[in-house]
């Protein structure tokens, strides 16, 4: 059988369940957990690339006032100038320095992306976690509601919220949160529900452990890794959604963001390519970074389905 390329389940052919495993084999974290985690992170090509790019982006965002040549909304020169030595990425239609806007835009993108992803995790985690652990009618109701939110496409839902409530910066965060929390809810729900019926949780119940202890010691530590992976992917999605709203002209008009720049660029596609290319590149980079990081984390936590997006590890 040579049909399958790389992923033959050799475990089935020779299960060595009963052989003591050496310390180097992958699996859940163990002795010297942080150390081990880092070692495996370093072995993951996707993960490392993602991590490095992300750290770079965060550094740029934090150091924006120091490295940016101009203030984000400062009129730095004549409008629509092509990239040159004085304006590395050119200027936009009102004469702002594109490079400066891109640098400051990283602040808004990361801040809003992480904020919405975090809020979504909070809401989704609570709903999914309660539904998964409680079961019964509570489970049915909560998960049906979650499903409802997923019927309206994420982007449309975000737009709807903006249409009704307006587009201030913090309302945009709320809109994106409302759009992506069901994703988190589902993953947390799936994890908690599966873990609840696992034998080791049942054993804890038989021993008389209180609910709080079962949640804290047995369920959460095991549910966390896949949730972290999902949050990493959703942070990218949040940035994308937020930039999309900006591109549609529904972002905060006063904040210098990537989306806003891309919105402006739409009218100058025939004359000023730099207005679109550079901010777009920044968005793509941020999303790729989160998605690669997610892949890397997935490789770390689920070594057995190691299928990194950038080929194999190591």
């Amino acid at each position: 059988m040579s049909l399958s390329g790389d992923s033959v389940d050799t475990a089935e052919l020779a299960p060595d369940l009963d052989a003591p495993r050496p310390n180097t084999s992958p699996g859940w974290s163990r002795g010297n957990a942080t150390h081990e985690w880092w070692a495996r992170m370093r072995a993951s090509r996707s993960g490392m690339i993602g991590l490095v790019v992300l750290i770079l982006l965060i550094a740029i965002a934090m150091l924006a006032p120091l490295i940016s040549p101009y203030a984000p909304n400062e009129l730095a020169g004549e409008s629509l100038q092509a990239p040159s030595r004085s304006h590395l990425m050119g200027t936009d239609n009102v004469g702002r320095d594109v490079l400066s806007v891109v640098i400051y835009g990283a602040r808004i993108a990361l801040l809003m992306g992480l904020l919405s992803a975090g809020l979504a995790l909070l809401v989704g985690g609570l709903v999914g976690g309660v539904a998964g652990y409680a079961g019964g009618a509570i489970e049915t109701i909560l998960m049906r509601v979650t499903e409802l939110f997923q019927i309206i496409p994420l982007m449309v839902l975000a737009l709807f919220v903006v249409a009704l409530w307006g587009s201030h910066l913090w309302l945009l965060v709320v809109a994106v949160t409302i759009a992506i929390w069901p994703l988190e809810a589902r993953i947390v729900y799936g994890q908690v529900k599966a873990l609840k019926d696992r034998e080791f949780v049942q054993v804890a119940r038989v021993a008389g452990a209180p609910h709080a202890q079962i949640l804290a010691r047995e369920i959460l530590p095991n549910a966390l890794p896949p949730v972290i992976v999902q949050v990493s992917l959703d942070a990218g999605l949040a940035i994308l959604t937020q930039t999309s709203l900006g591109f549609l002209g529904l972002g905060d008009p006063n904040a210098a963001s990537w989306g806003q720049l891309l919105y402006a660029a739409q009218s100058y596609l025939s004359t000023a390519w730099w207005m679109s290319v550079f901010p777009g590149l920044a968005v793509a980079l941020a999303i790729i970074a989160f998605s690669l990081l997610g892949d890397g984390l997935n490789e770390i936590y689920n070594p057995h389905q190691r299928r990194g997006t950038l080929g194999r590890s190591r």
């Binding site: 059988m1 040579s2 049909l3 399958s4 390329g5 790389d6 992923s7 033959v8 389940d9 049906r144 499903e147 409802l148 939110f149 997923q150 019927i151 309206i152 496409p153 994420l154 982007m155 449309v156 737009l159 709807f160 919220v161 903006v162 249409a163 009704l164 409530w165 990218g236 994308l240 930039t243 999309s244 591109f247 549609l248 002209g249 529904l250 891309l262 660029a265 739409q266 596609l269 025939s270 390519w273 679109s276 290319v277 777009g280 968005v283 793509a284 999303i287 790729i288 998605s291 690669l292 299928r307 997006t309 950038l310 080929g311």
Partner: protein, 320 residues
């Protein structure tokens, strides 16, 4: 099978009612008074206010309001656009075919391309090709669709001049027959390609994982034992089985595509419902926005229904 369809359709109804309820609830949380939420920020005359209040029973308790909201929807009455003074239903009906044309063609091209590429990457042994495709997929996946659209416009429309930049047809066209068709096609190609790249990347990824998963199943070993050749095995055991999860995922991806059409239609000024949605939001024409959200939700529910049926056709375990 018939029973299956009937049950599934019967289940879609409460789902639909609940989604409308969700939309209704979100509207209830809108700051300001309900009339303003419905019409947006137009200065409306008192007479219009009164007629809306009467039509939607805005002074009645919330449940009664929901009931009349539903009744109005059921009659195909989604109110009037304050901007264009047309009925929302006819506005949407006018735009919907354009969206279906664009999204449908992009969807089909993407699925076919993605399916083929996914199958090849999963079965091929050349690691380099696989890695290349995978990297391509990640990149395609991460590029915002509207930005990709802008890039395509700049390269193929502005720089090379091969295709028109925007719109769906020239303002004054007297082309007929095959020329008419080609003219329309030239407008369609770039937005369709944008769709297809995005959809194709998703389908490639799904197909690859699913095919690899199928190849690891025991019945593939059985097929080889029976003496089927590689191609026979793929044809008779891999394609159908590995398409199951792909079909399921397509249901979800349709919703994403509907969201994406808002962006792509904006880039290319394609006169579909996505563009209508954005324009209406900008003009605070909320009656139209509400109508569009309802229509899109219905489309997604119908699509899910179709996907479930396709799934049942493909997998005998689900029927009965």
């Amino acid at each position: 099978m018939l029973w299956f369809v009937a049950r599934r359709v019967a289940q879609a109804v409460p789902m639909l009612l609940s989604v409308i309820l969700l939309i209704f609830v979100l509207m209830q949380f809108t700051p300001g008074d309900p009339v303003q939420a419905m019409v947006g920020q137009y200065p409306v005359p008192q007479s219009f206010r009164d007629s809306l209040t009467a039509e939607y029973h805005l002074n009645a308790p919330v449940w009664t309001q929901y009931w009349y909201f539903l009744v109005n929807l059921a009659h195909g009455n989604m109110g009037y656009s304050y901007a264009s003074h047309e009925s929302v239903t006819s506005l949407i009906a006018e735009r919907l075919p354009n969206t279906l044309l664009l999204a449908g063609s992009g969807y089909i091209v993407g699925i076919v391309l993605g399916g083929v590429v996914g199958l090849i990457t999963a079965t091929t042994k050349r690691r380099g090709f696989d890695t290349l495709m995978q990297t391509g997929v990640v990149t395609a996946y991460a590029i915002p669709s509207f930005w990709l659209g802008q890039l395509l416009v700049m390269l193929f429309a502005v720089h090379l001049g091969w295709f028109p930049t925007q719109g769906m047809a020239p303002v004054d066209s007297n082309a007929t027959g095959i020329y008419w068709f080609l003219e329309r096609l030239s407008y369609l190609i770039l937005p369709m390609l944008t769709y297809a790249v995005y959809e194709g990347a998703r389908v490639t990824r799904l197909t690859r994982v699913s095919v690899i998963d199928t190849l690891n199943q025991g019945y593939i070993v059985t097929a080889r034992m029976k003496g089927l050749s590689r191609w026979q095995t793929v044809r008779s055991h891999v394609i159908r089985n590995s398409s199951l999860p792909v079909v399921t995922a397509l249901g979800y991806s349709f919703a994403v595509a509907m969201g994406g059409s808002v962006l792509i239609e904006t880039v290319f000024s394609w006169p579909g419902i996505g563009l209508l949605l954005v324009d209406s939001i900008k003009q605070r024409d909320n009656q139209v926005v509400i109508g569009l959200v309802v229509v899109i939700a219905v489309a997604v529910i119908v699509m899910n229904l179709l996907v479930d049926m396709a799934h049942a056709l493909l997998d005998p375990r689900i029927r009965a």
